[in-house]
Amino acid sequence: MDIRKLFVKKENEKAKPAQVIVNMVLALAAIYLFFMLSLKRLDMKLDFSLLWKFRIRYLQGYKTTVMLSIVSLILSLVIGFISAIGSRSNILPISYISRIYVQFIRGTPMIMQVYLFFYIVGTAWGISNRFLAGVLILSIFEGAYISEIFRGGIESIDGTQLEAAKAIGLEPGQTMRLVILPQIIKRTLPSLAGQFASIIKDSSLLSLISVIELTQTSREVSATNFAVFEVYMFLGLLYLTLTFPISMFTKYLEKRFSYENRT
């Protein structure tokens, strides 16, 4: 048997199940080896049992990250939608505010925004609840990206669809509700799902303002037991339990979406 067949799939074909298993194991083994070698060079042994006694705090942090992400997702969808509609508005001040907002947020690092907004939102407006401040900051940040996703969705709607809506006698509000929104949602769902994964990861930066989510919890744990390797490997694993399913879901949506749009 040709040994290459085990590792190389045919162009334009899916890998066979046996190929998938063998090669996935190989890839994981290679990564594992790299980590082990690194540890060996440092002469360290991993001991994950050190983390067990922090389980309550981890659970709390995990819950906070999930809550933070879900609430921020909802709020950033609202902000993003308003901003996307706003940027297309014929009323210039609204349009400019929306565009400046998107440009500013997307053009500057989040870490800077976290600090800046924390002082504006937190101090100037007296929002002392860190969770709330975190949600606001994260939503404002993600809203700009979601705004662009929605704007792309709106622009991808064929002009004839809008003309047809007009022709059957829909009023503008009905056109929005019955034609534009459902089409945008369908088209942007894969990107929005992907953005949700980003929200989860980006929420880690809220540790900077001491929102006690997963990353902050890990920082605190590692400060007491100095098990940096274990703590951060475990942290990565925890984020993956959230982002991996979403990434699979995104792939599924993309596939379905491309099917429905074949012509």
Partner: protein, 245 residues
């Protein structure tokens, strides 16, 4: 049905006039609007359908003068059917939902009533197998027939069609034209923009010939095709019929 146009003009922004001073009065059952590309056919049809406003002039359909304000026009659009060249079906809705949506949300039908109307039409035009598919899953001919079914489901007195077959292969063209003919035979008034001269000649009683925004020739389609009266219409016909068998 009778339409009257009085000095209708249309220009987009500061460009040349797309329609120039069209004044005409015509009784028709099926009216074909023909003419070279860019002559203003779609623009005229859209004005008749209340989708765009003329720059000046009056349009009177069956004695009713179109008032060019949105509120009135929404009502007008609800009373006529409009079919586009292609892609006029809502692509997030199935064939049946495309038909029921205007019935439910514009004409106040209940879900059940609307489904009954849709099924009746789908059955009648041999579209039952396509009822639950999305437009992207249908052939161009099936899409156009569903678009026509949607347009007539609300029982309009007038159906406007803008080149309903020009995006279709010849064999699909016929199934769509047959459907239009059948609706015409039932007494539905039709105005269609078309390049299908056979259909314009045999199935339409009246013709408008547009040329560079002007209504150069009009009247009975039989006369138009047997003896075009202007050099432009003669040239247009000989060009378009050049490869006809």
């Amino acid at each position: 049905m009778k339409i009257e146009l009085k000095s209708v003009t249309k220009s987009f922004s500061d460009r040349n006039e797309v329609l120039r001073d069209i004044t005409v009065e015509e009784d028709f059952g099926a009216l074909a609007i023909i003419g070279p590309s860019g002559s203003g056919k779609s623009t005229l049809l859209r004005i008749l359908g209340g989708l765009i406003l003329p720059t000046s002039g009056e349009v009177i359909i069956d004695g009713q003068r179109l008032q060019f304000e949105e509120k009135y026009l929404i009502g007008h659009r609800r009373n006529v059917g409009f079919v586009f060249q292609a892609k006029g079906l809502f692509n997030h809705l199935t064939g049946r939902q495309n038909i029921t949506m205007p019935l439910i949300h514009v004409h106040g039908y209940g879900k059940k009533e609307a489904d009954d109307v849709a099924d009746m039409l789908l059955e009648r035009f041999g579209l039952m197998n396509d009822a639950d598919k999305l437009p992207a899953e249908l052939s161009g001919g099936q899409q156009q027939r569903i678009a026509i079914a949607r347009a007539v489901a609300t029982r309009p007195k007038l159906l406007l069609l803008d080149e309903p077959t020009s995006a279709l292969d010849p064999e699909l063209t016929n199934e769509v034209l047959d459907m239009i003919k059948e609706l015409r035979n039932e007494g539905l008034n039709i105005i269609l923009v078309t390049h299908e001269m056979g259909f314009a000649k045999k199935a339409c009683d009246k013709i408008f010939f547009l040329y560079e925004g002007r209504l150069l020739e009009r009247g009975s389609s039989y006369e138009f095709f047997s003896s075009p009266k202007t050099p432009q219409s003669a040239a247009f016909l000989s060009k378009i019929l050049e490869w006809n068998v």
